[in-house]
């Protein structure tokens, strides 16, 4: 396979299951946090993973980052499956990834100065020359607009505001010149007025370096501004995958429809009507319902079908994929995009 044609990241039928132990040895079952996810991500594209807590989106990101080992399936980066990487190659892989976390203060060690924090990844990857370190640190702080740099490098995390802390986290994620950034709810703990600032910064960084971004959030309303594609996750599976505009226009899956219906815009008319929202809660990941996992809450569930068999993927619009029996008359898609 040519380098040019191959996507940066390819995930193939990925499953990440965690063992539940009752006693030291007895196994009580598995938490199936990611249960059959397949997609490709080229460079320069931002992908939004939207789902509620417990949908598996964070576990998916962590598996891609190499923090969890896949139970089956594979994460393929630049053509190389991660499971086949040796220790040294794995470390090199990590330099190609950046991780931006949800809690900006928790993501920074409170006892190190900003300079030390930024130098750590460099040291881990054996960039020990002081000058080179300084240069990279300068570069990256300029980019996230924590300037004047000389001021900020000596500060400690608690001296920074939430927005500044998150910029520092982004700086750290960028310092090894990665090709992919995983941002897990990067703005949900920030104030409303700061969120846009940080999201715009991430977008700018992505465009400047042609990065691939996996942007995880539960807040659909920010997604249209910052991603090319949206994946909706429910109960460890991707129920709908589409380019942003297509998803917002044609929300095929009933769950997507429910999400879109549930999210209010600030409009005084909202107070006059009740929202049409499915009752119930997301299912347990240890014992998901048989068949389609959304069927207990789905207003359009087809009796005899949805509760029996998991739907395959259909493509009702070009590039727009849904896992729902309602579209069984549309073009059917096998494993892989």
């Amino acid at each position: 396979m040519q380098d040019r044609d191959q996507p940066l990241l390819a995930v193939q039928d990925l499953r990440t299951w965690f063992e539940l132990r009752r006693w030291v040895f007895a196994r009580a079952g598995y938490v199936k946090a990611v249960d059959g996810v397949t997609f490709e991500l080229p460079r320069g594209e931002a992908l939004a993973l939207v789902g509620e807590s417990g949908s598996g989106k964070t576990s998916l990101a962590r598996t891609v980052l190499g923090l969890y080992k896949p139970t089956s399936g594979d994460v393929v980066f630049e053509g190389m499956p991660l499971s086949q990487l040796k220790k040294g190659q794995m470390r090199a892989y990590r330099a190609d990834l950046g991780y931006v976390q949800q809690d900006p203060y928790g993501a920074l060690p409170p006892f190190l100065s900003l300079r030390s924090i930024l130098a750590e990844p460099l040291k881990v990857h054996r960039i020990r020359d002081k000058n080179e370190q300084d240069q990279r640190i300068n570069e990256v702080l300029e980019e996230v607009k924590l300037t004047p740099v000389s001021d900020f490098i000596q500060k400690f995390p608690h001296m920074l505001s939430g927005g500044q802390q998150q910029r520092a986290v982004i700086a750290r994620a960028m310092i090894l010149r990665p090709k992919l950034i995983a941002a897990d709810e990067p703005v949900s703990m920030l104030d409303a007025s700061v969120r846009i600032e940080i999201l715009k910064l991430l977008r700018r960084v992505q465009e400047a370096h042609n990065l691939a971004v996996i942007y995880i959030t539960h807040d659909l309303s920010t997604v249209r501004y910052f991603s090319e594609r949206i994946f909706i996750m429910y109960a460890a599976r991707t129920v709908e995958k589409a380019p942003t505009e297509s998803l917002l226009e044609y929300h095929f899956h009933p769950y997507t429809q429910a999400l879109l219906a549930a999210i209010p815009d600030p409009d005084p008319k909202n107070a006059e009507t009740f929202r049409d929202v499915p009752a119930g809660e997301p299912p347990s990941l240890v014992n998901p319902p048989p068949g389609c996992r959304f069927h207990p809450r789905c207003p359009h569930a087809i009796e005899g079908l949805c509760e029996v068999e998991q739907s395959p993927t259909f493509e009702p619009q070009p590039e727009h994929y849904v896992e729902c029996w309602l579209y069984r008359d549309e073009k059917r898609v096998e494993e892989g995009e």
Binding site: E52, L220, P264, A271, A279
Partner: protein, 318 residues
């Protein structure tokens, strides 16, 4: 007619800390009618949680100043003694759904017992009667009465939040203050809880103060809205005015920074940070970040009342 339920007048709450005096609530004035839901929007550090504490008199030990008037049904509760406030006001006429309250359920008590507790404590009811009322209020919030006998860990996040709301409603208070009631919840659960609050408002004609940083969610419930900045109210108006056409520059910028799903909009953000509450700047507190400041802004503007009934703390509307 205005303010026939609650009138807050120049409420001040300052805390003493090792770093200085934090002027968390610095002269807040507003009023509310019965069967009205008021949103109080603000970002972190604006003093909205302290406002909750000030109204409900849930004060820590390091209070420096606590003055002003809080008229509930015409009576100034600030003049009540501690004991009287506790027995007659708190959780009798005014109750609170605190931030992350669903995590504050006592894990060793049954949910029904906890929800019924305010009745036992404040109205001296016996357990069976209190539980009967708990059952009724569970119906209101949409939780099956089977759950009365369960423990907190057996309930999902959404159900626990409903239980907490039930506990706040059970003494039929005049006013319920909700402090970030849906922040920790999933979107679908959030929508469900807002539906619950809507139905309670209609069925009981309940009045709410809804305090949060999540602007969009408040529009589901609230008839009026107020924006807090640096310990003061910047703008107060009815929901039409507040959400669609705010006057105060901060409120305008805030609304412009809320991402909308269903309509396309150019998002803005506000550069800079809110001022420290320990030594707030003289003059208008938003002036440093305001895109429309002018010379008058060096003095602190009063809260102007406009003809259309809204209040704006800005010299532009003199």
């Amino acid at each position: 007619m205005a303010g026939n339920l609650l009138k807050v007048n120049d409420l001040v709450l300052h805390f003493r800390t090792t770093k200085g005096v934090v002027q968390a609530v610095d002269g807040v004035t507003f009023d509310m009618n019965r069967n009205e839901a008021l949103a109080v929007i603000g970002e972190s550090g604006c003093g909205k949680t302290s406002l909750v504490r000030a109204i409900l008199r849930l004060l820590p030990k390091n209070v420096h100043t606590y003055t002003g008037n809080v008229f509930l049904n015409g009576v100034d509760t600030m003049k009540y003694s501690e004991e009287r406030f506790r027995s007659e006001m708190r959780w009798v006429s005014m109750s609170l759904v605190a931030q992350a309250a669903m995590n504050a359920l006592n894990p060793v008590l049954r949910v029904g017992d906890q929800v019924a507790e305010p009745l036992v404590v404040h109205q001296g009811l016996r357990k069976p009667e209190a539980l009967a009322q708990a059952s009724e209020v569970f119906r209101l919030v949409g939780v099956s009465e089977d759950f009365l006998g369960r423990y907190a860990f057996e309930l999902s996040g959404g159900m626990r939040q409903r239980a907490i709301i039930a506990m706040a409603l059970i003494t039929k208070p005049d006013l319920v203050v909700l402090d970030e009631p849906t922040s920790a919840l999933d979107m679908l659960t959030q929508a469900n809880i807002m539906n619950v609050l809507k139905s309670i408002k209609r069925e009981l004609e309940q009045s709410f103060i809804f305090i949060t940083h999540d602007v969009a969610t408040t529009s589901e419930l609230c008839d009026r809205g107020a924006v807090m900045y640096a310990g003061q109210i910047a703008e107060l108006g009815n929901s039409q005015q507040f959400y669609l056409d705010p006057y105060h520059p901060y409120a305008q910028k805030l609304m412009a920074s809320v991402p909308t799903l269903h309509e396309k909009k150019e998002l803005e953000f506000i550069p800079g940070q809110p001022p420290s509450l320990i030594s707030p700047p003289t003059g208008c507190r938003f002036a440093a970040r305001c895109h429309r400041r002018f010379e008058m802004c060096d003095q602190e503007p009063p809260l102007f009342e406009l003809d259309d009934g809204r209040f704006v703390k800005c010299w532009l509307y003199k």
